[in-house]
Chain length 158, copies 2
DNA sequence: TTTTTTGCAAAACCTTTGCAGTTGG
DNA sequence: CCAACTGCAAAGGTTTTGCAAAAAA
């Protein structure tokens, strides 16, 4: 029911910069911590805790899932990481560097489209004017059908 | 990854009408089936499977949680029921009668605001024009901060 | 009577927690 | 050295599944 706090996200350009920030905040930087960060820096798109624990399919050392969750939690508190909920299924984690990314999700094919937050500003404003809500699409993205699936569904309904 | 099919939702104005539709579709109408429907007809807002199993706090007979889920699934396939995901936590179920209701959710206080689908048409259209996505807010609602919480957070950030 | 549904138990899935032992600073 | 973290096991919350017994049509 609460929203992740934010630091200056542009400050974290490398694993070592994050490591310094962690230590400054009284945390310790362990091997699992570094591996989680390597996974996040290596992966272009949001990944599940399980994918990280699996070393992104063997590219990195495997980790205890518990330890992945605990590291992600710490990193999220620091403002380095954020997670997003895509349909049902596990949450997906990504670096929060360039500000919160916002997403569109296709409920039919699973496609995840990342958009610049600014592109959604007019929509946020319209909702704010109409309902008073300040919405964001970074934690619970917009869900629907992508253009391809919408076209398919016109032909073959249901 | 699929979206619930739709029948004419206005056809279901009473438990008996739903019961007839169930039987026409080859299903059977049991005591748990009727109690689930009573709960849905009685409750003004979306409720969790557990609330239904608890008889809406004693107003109705209690049910096996398993049976509630199985009945909700059948009813959802029939187009009588739909469920919505509100922040983390259990899904909430409601009658789908007047078409899919769409929602705004406050991630801070949990408030669930139901809106007329037509009110969101301009927003849907804007997103469709800009990204090609056909979004809906009935399954995964808009999440953010309600006016009150937004005001509070301006004063006391974090 | 036949087929669906129930009831109960168990499992699946994602995430969190407890605790003794290890390790970073 | 000591607080923080790991590893492993266990539990928590939500939803699904298996199967014998009960009940609807």
């Amino acid at each position: 029911m609460t929203v992740a706090p934010k630091r200056d996200p542009l400050a974290f350009g490398s694993i070592d910069e994050v490591a310094d920030a962690l230590r400054r905040a009284g945390h310790r930087v362990t091997t699992p911590t570094r591996t989680v960060l390597e996974a996040l820096f290596a992966s272009g798109e949001p990944v599940s805790a399980e994918q990280i624990a699996d070393g992104l399919d063997g590219q990195l050392p495997t980790l205890e899932l518990t330890s992945v969750y605990r590291n992600l939690e710490r990193l999220e508190q620091l403002g380095v990481v954020s997670h997003v909920h895509v349909t049902h299924g596990a949450g997906l984690y990504a670096l929060a560097r360039d500000g919160d990314r916002e997403y569109l999700v296709c409920e039919r094919c699973g496609r995840l489209t990342s958009v610049e937050p600014a592109e959604l500003d007019p929509i946020r404003d319209a909702i704010s004017d109409q309902f008073g809500y300040h919405v964001r699409f970074s934690h619970f993205p917009l869900h629907g059908h992508c253009a391809d699936c919408a076209k398919t569904l016109e032909r073959e309904p249901s």
